[in-house]
Symmetry: C2
Subunit: 382 residues, 2 copies
Amino acid sequence: MFNKRLLIPGPAPIPPAVARAMSTEMFNHRGPRFAELIAEVTASLKRVFQTESRLFILTSSGTGAMEAAVVNFLSPGDRIVSLVNGLFGDRFASIAAAYGGNVERLESAWGEPLDYAALEARLREDKDSSIRAITVVHNESSTGMMNDLEKISRIRGDHPALLLVDTVSSMGAVDLPVDRLGVDVCFTGSQKALLLPPGLSFISASERAWKAAASSKMPKYYFNLQTAEELLKKGQTPFTPALPQFVALREALQIYFAEGRENCYARHRRMASAVRAAARALGLEPLVKEERFASPTVTAIMNPPNISGKRLQVMMLERFGIEIAGGQGALEGQIFRVGHLGAVDGLDIIAGISALEICLQLLGHPVKAGEAVGAAEEAMST
Amino acid sequence: MFNKRLLIPGPAPIPPAVARAMSTEMFNHRGPRFAELIAEVTASLKRVFQTESRLFILTSSGTGAMEAAVVNFLSPGDRIVSLVNGLFGDRFASIAAAYGGNVERLESAWGEPLDYAALEARLREDKDSSIRAITVVHNESSTGMMNDLEKISRIRGDHPALLLVDTVSSMGAVDLPVDRLGVDVCFTGSQKALLLPPGLSFISASERAWKAAASSKMPKYYFNLQTAEELLKKGQTPFTPALPQFVALREALQIYFAEGRENCYARHRRMASAVRAAARALGLEPLVKEERFASPTVTAIMNPPNISGKRLQVMMLERFGIEIAGGQGALEGQIFRVGHLGAVDGLDIIAGISALEICLQLLGHPVKAGEAVGAAEEAMST
């Protein structure tokens, strides 16, 4: 297959210029060239995050940043409320617990909206402000559910709990004004909407979070952001950074801002609408029912009756070189997932939907050729 | 400067084919292509490590693997003996302490040999085997000292303490038979002798270490090797890996084994001898006096009398595009360091020595043009 298409929720496709930038020669990560580079990309990332506070670049996947979000701002025994409606919400709670946090999970079924009312009630009854942090995953890649951060921010209100937010699969693809929303700690990975290969993660910290960091007692070293702050002042990272990703990040951010944030948000919304419209035209059901919670970057679709999602996945790959994803954890065997983020556009989605029509028909699902593609085209143009 | 030369102790120069491999398109890290890749490179890395035990690939710098070496095998309160004669030995002890280890430091001055006798005495008096681990940095990049692992292994003898060894700047460049030496946990980084950019680290664990891991109580998540083991069975990593480095790793290891291990070791020894001979011909003194402790990958040289090492460093960079390193921590302002590892050969070293002759002369140091280069050539041919 000479033309592979990657429609998984990350790593997302990257632009050719970013791929070429990865071929950089090595250079001194404690010299002037790196100092200039880290200053530039840190400033650009703050624009992506819409924050004027601190931002650090870590050499790790998004989960490394998730660990950093926990261990830098909390202490063992701290009461932490974790909102969970998918695999990554569960992971966030697990990390907090692994480091000794006193974690209360507010769980909803995977694919269902968060229990906003329960959060509101829990914070209201917390008269002595014993809750130190709320963890939430903005965009659940495991379900295609985008949780309502605006609402969570409103519910948190004046409660002093820190708001720790995973935006791994949404930052860059959705309007996420970190400062305006009062998000205290926000992190993402390089390999999603930000047009870069995996290898780096990005994390911001509000003034309030930074004050809390000073008294944090959870153990840490590699992910210690205080050390990162000290070294950043010298234009360095504490430990040898993934240089190729740093060089490519400059290129990726230039491409990102050349498209324009609003255009990028709109492109992701269009692709999501196209996939949902196509699913319905094929008689399939998106896992996330309500449009307002539909993720702009990944759509989970219930497996067609009597057809194995795994078989569909393998057929898409073998016939067309198209990679889609299956369900994870509790949803394994129930859904397939289509990623639509990063360096992809509507016509990549059309190609994927065309392949889906052909494969589903071969698998015995009733399909009228071109109908789902047509529905996707219409969804994209409105 | 169109032809930059990187003579720092890492990131080391990489072969052009490795740089090109970094430009890979993205693909599914949970699909068959990645499964095949991780199986192949893990097996090759075991040959580099000369181990038949477990080996894991982490998306982090070497310090991440250092943290993994501590948190996976120990519990808070465990007695740990840390051998320290440089920055990285100090870092190893600091990580163990940060995670609640009861750390006893056996310190020597930076640039001096380890206190082997003190280690021997300490283990002999430890009748109830309360010492759970010994941490040691094989090759101290901060001083150019290669510590005697064979000797430490002999001293440890039958004592049940785990031997945890940092080989970040030596693995691949020096004969390091991990299993034969009884090293329980061994780790390195991708950006040193192994011909790859930074972004990955590699860590092995003996059967004995793996048994200890089962009862380890230090908190961990991102660096949890039990999770890594589970996922490796499926041909995956727990979290999204730095894909470009994985793809380039296959290329790098092919180049590494094509040169041949013994040839690679010999090349590094030759380069080290050349640098030391040149230093002496210039009337300069290597920090590490005894030849048997001289690192094959990095040489620290005392600053010439009345000449600032910083000025020398800047002049080398500005005139010739050559990057050398300064001193770190306790040795800042006292030494400069020349790295000779990775994709460099004797003639790169000759170029560096030529530049050194010219710059030192300009700075007022007495130099006879060509003398140090001649000494280096002679050292290389013996």
